[in-house]
Symmetry: C2
């Protein structure tokens, strides 16, 4: 299983996901923006705007390679002269606050000395937490994980709880999901199996999200719910810009800014020390995000 095959299959995965998401949305269509990287490789960023379900979203594919930069060396803490990296990453911001924001990415990285690994994650960020929806999401993630290794879900769920966390707010980003990195032959599975796991997650993604969409897309929305959505979108912006390792590495190392920041919400609002009534749905969501939860 060579890197070219992985890159090609990730590119196909991007198209599969976009087609399925267009079906889920009903009216929104993706536009494609192809770009080249001076030092080697490039990508195709596909974005969707003002659909029936998705207000702003992106599904990005990239395949980049070339000499290992100093920035990369200090980040990687390992030797290597040439690298290759490919991945698909997604963030979708829905119109309706009763539909959650969702993020997914799968990626492959290798160095010319033979070191290589897979990484990725999916997490769900409801504007209003509904326990039943979160359970549904985690059940599906576990069932994909279990096809490959029963230790994956509990381990990767824990990892997501640590990663998708806003320390300055004392809040989780949402109801979590799974996160994994540096998956390689140290695990029970061979390279091909690990790759299949990533593709399987990617192929499950639109169906996982469809369930979440159908739950909330027809719910009526008040002005105060829209405002709350914008406050939660501001938290999403805070996480991505100040804490997300992928975003930070991308911005600091000269990655393609527009592709990195396609994850940003269409709008965000900040209010000094905003505190919802603890008995309101907004207050209950906030309290929920301050606790750690298990879903299964």
């Amino acid at each position: 299983m060579n890197k070219e095959t992985i890159g090609q299959e990730f590119r196909a995965l991007q198209l599969f996901i976009c087609n399925e998401l267009e079906r889920v949305d009903g009216t929104g269509k993706f536009s494609e923006d192809a770009w080249d990287r001076t030092e080697g490789g490039g990508g195709k960023t596909r974005t969707i705007r003002n659909g029936s379900v998705i207000e702003k979203g992106g599904v990005a594919f990239s395949e980049v390679y070339g000499p290992v930069s100093d920035e990369m060396k200090s980040q990687l803490k390992m030797e290597g002269n040439q690298f290759y990296a490919t991945g698909v990453s997604i963030v979708l911001h829905p119109n309706n606050p009763h539909v959650p924001i969702i993020h997914m990415n799968v990626r492959y990285f290798e160095l010319d000395n033979g070191i290589h690994w897979f990484g990725g994650g999916i997490d769900l960020t409801p504007h209003y937490v509904v326990q039943e929806q979160a359970v549904l999401f985690h059940q599906k993630l576990r069932s994909v994980c279990n096809k490959y290794d029963e230790s994956f879900y509990p381990k990767f769920k824990e990892w997501a709880d640590e990663y998708f966390y806003l320390p300055h707010r004392g809040e989780t980003r949402g109801v979590g999901g799974i996160f994994f990195d540096h998956l390689n032959n140290h695990f029970q599975l061979n390279k091909e199996q690990l790759f299949r796991f990533c593709v399987d997650l990617g192929e499950s993604f639109p169906f996982l999200y469809e369930e979440q969409v159908n739950w909330g897309k027809n719910k009526a929305v008040s002005e105060s719910e829209k405002q709350w959505m914008n406050y939660r979108r501001a938290r999403y912006a805070e996480f991505n810009l100040a804490f997300d390792r992928g975003t930070k590495f991308g911005l600091y190392s000269g990655g393609r800014t527009e592709s990195i920041l396609m994850s940003m919400p269409p709008v965000a609002e900040w209010e000094y020390d905003y505190q919802p009534d603890p008995e309101s749905p907004e207050g209950k969501t906030l309290a929920y995000l301050k606790e750690k939860h298990t879903y299964l």
Copy 2:
């Protein structure tokens, strides 16, 4: 000149600035939020919302002290067991896109081993750059600097150009200003004179801003100008969350989140790869920010 005096005078400076800004605004009033820091000290955060001129802003005073944490040690790269830090910091987001966003801060830091310094800065972020306004701003800054040391303005202007820069956008945050740090007895001036310089800057601040406000506050505003303002506010959010050293240090070291993030705009909007017409006022501002400028 001991630290208690500096703290007291900074506290008085906060009140002076708030009173003058209320006069400039006409209708907006500051509310005060006092807070304590568990490990020692605290602050008073004063915020203003929906004034006639200022849509959202804050003028914060803090005076904190206690044992030097590990986080602080690795940041400071110097020895010391106990620290003391006090400062005033300001960010104002106006209603009218023809009035610039402004930021200022002055601060004092000391360690129990006698090491101490002053730092600070002011910078102006117009949504629409007007060269004449920028010149006026820089002239006033230079005249304050020149009362103390004629080397200050050219040196600190350069420093601001480096600091208030968004590398991932290849843009300056705005038309710059001055930035300085680690000012101490290595300079020609003694501690009291350096302190006077900081206070003088602070006392000049509301009058500097008043000129900028009067220039634009009565200008008519179109919907597309409001939208452009929200795109520029998104850049402000990007700078503060991903690049501003003070914000990052505060968020990572457990500072008071609401006081740190009072700098955030009321609203921000992101659009994938938004490119204004190069011949439009928006396009001209964007092109301007991609170049380095001198004003005097």
